[in-house]
Amino acid sequence: MSNVVVLDNGAGLMKAGIGGERDPTAIVPNSMGRPLSSKKWLMAEQLLSPDVDLTSATVRRPFDRGYLINPDLQSSLWSHIFSNLLKITPSHSSLLLTEPLFNLPSIQRSLDEIVFEDFNFKALYVSDSPSLVHLYEASRRPYGLVSKAQCSLVADCGFSFTHASPVFQNFTLNYAVKRLDLGGKALTNYLKELVSYRSVNLMDESFLMDDVKEKLCFVSLDVPRDLQIARKPGKDNLFRCTYVLPDGITNTKGFLKDREEPKRYLSLYDKAPQQVAGEQTDTDQLDNSEDRNRSNGSKIDLTKNEFGLTNERFLVPEMMFRPADLGLNQAGLAECIVRAISSCHSHLHPVLYESIILTGGSTLFPHFAKRLEMDLRPLVPDKYRLKITTQEDPILGVWRGGSLLASSPDFDAMCVTKAEYEELGSARCRKRFFH
């Protein structure tokens, strides 16, 4: 039996490995970057090396707004991971590839061309992400509701966008899918803006800000209360954290000044939210600016190359829940899910509300699922139960579903072979992948 290469080709990260295995061999950026001091472009995992100084590095990605726009760049990155990381021979392998929902026909053609003409893969199967997430969750709990009812609502907060997708009998119900144009990338950029306006100009530091976001951001369960705490001076400000910038000599990466500092706020979250929500928020706005600036970074010594974060820690993920409050006129995640479910047959509503699966890197912020539940409950009829499951590993969920599918006995029959592609062309082959 030959290998099946499973490639979850995300706009942010490529997850690549061999079908049947539990985890992918490679989880690497789907990008090239060029450090300031270098002429050489670094590919994928080379960007993750601890020795590389990515300060003000230039980034190039094959994806724009979640869709492939630069097939040549993608092809270079694939060839790099196939030969250096997976060490496979495409002409002896089949490929299970993920593509975004509603991929454009012109992009599908370029993808097929790369797969069959550049790499000579033996056979190809293309899947969307929600059906693979569903498959994986259903297989993990064969007697659970997702598996028995054969349906789920997959909320995938990816790099470029977020989709709420109902899945029924292993197929994504495309007509009911709703998309929010916000993902991890927008959140990093928003954090970059906030910090750059408020303390140090870090507009060129995407890699650094990704790290800050992953280490410090969390989802607030009580925004007015937390804003109030965030303006307190000194030790009473439970959110204040200091992040140290790389100096390029002793440190090429940034780091937290005090590793315990980010956890201080958790004392608030151990209590029930109601108990601590007593503080009032309507202070007179104009008189407070002095105090506010003190708690907000203006006293930071720039020569020390560090900056402080307070309310940014939760205002950034807040964007997913209330984009309109932050200047983007879209419904938030809870309403996105409600609209997707409402577009399905009413028989499916109760079981979909009870089978919400969260996946994607941006669901990793602490308290994400809890907040989603708080936002959803008032929008969902009382007679329906609400159950939100977070994937064990939200970054790998899609890949693991793909790995399962690739090792199923039916897989070969589901693929399009190179000979079929050559005979029928891209468009007709594509019809096989969807019902």
């Binding site: 050489k40 270079s76 998309r179 804003l227 984009p323 419904a331």
Partner: protein, 171 residues
């Protein structure tokens, strides 16, 4: 007035290439607030704060050639790919943006029952109430800039807003 128009048209030209015609029309509108919002979405999607490197850069070939050699050692059948990449390097124009590809796909012409990228957009929220955060310091804000629509909370933050970011995305 005319001169101002042509200036802004020139400024726009770089950006327009990257934006579908419909959005470009909105961008060219005289409404600063609409412009500011569209530019904001664009900024949140951008990879580099600086200009796209491939437009300026002549050093790319050296590094990509290394990669090519690795490729050809491992995959001798990749000749077709080489010509594609060589072509891509020769004409250094940036690849089409997604919005350009979307526009070319002409999804509006599909019958209404076909699910598409455009029809999957979640759309505006049903509630029109908004919490406003000061764009300078992040705390609740009660004031709106008459020029650009961004929010600020105090005289101090208004001053910073005017100095550093009012209409920054538009200019």
């Amino acid at each position: 007035m005319d001169e101002e128009m042509s200036n802004s048209a020139r400024r726009m030209s770089l950006r327009t290439r990257k934006i579908a015609p419909k959005m470009a029309a909105a961008l060219a509108s005289s409404d600063n607030r609409t412009q500011a919002m569209l530019a904001r979405l664009d900024a949140l999607e951008s990879d580099n704060a600086v200009v796209e490197p491939q437009l300026l850069d002549d050093d790319d070939e050296a590094s990509l050639d290394d990669e090519d050699q690795v490729f050809h050692k491992k995959y001798p059948k990749g000749t077709k790919r080489k010509t594609r990449q060589a072509k891509a390097l020769e004409n250094k124009r940036a690849p089409k943006s997604f919005l350009e590809l979307l526009n070319e796909a002409n999804l509006e012409s599909l019958p209404p029952h076909v699910p598409t990228y455009l029809r999957a957009a979640v759309g505006p929220p049903s509630s029109t109430s908004r919490r406003h955060f000061c764009t300078v310091c992040g705390f609740s804000s009660t004031y709106t800039c008459v020029q650009c629509g961004m929010h600020f909370c105090s005289i101090k933050c208004k001053a910073i807003h005017n100095e550093t970011r009012c209409l920054k995305f538009v200019a």
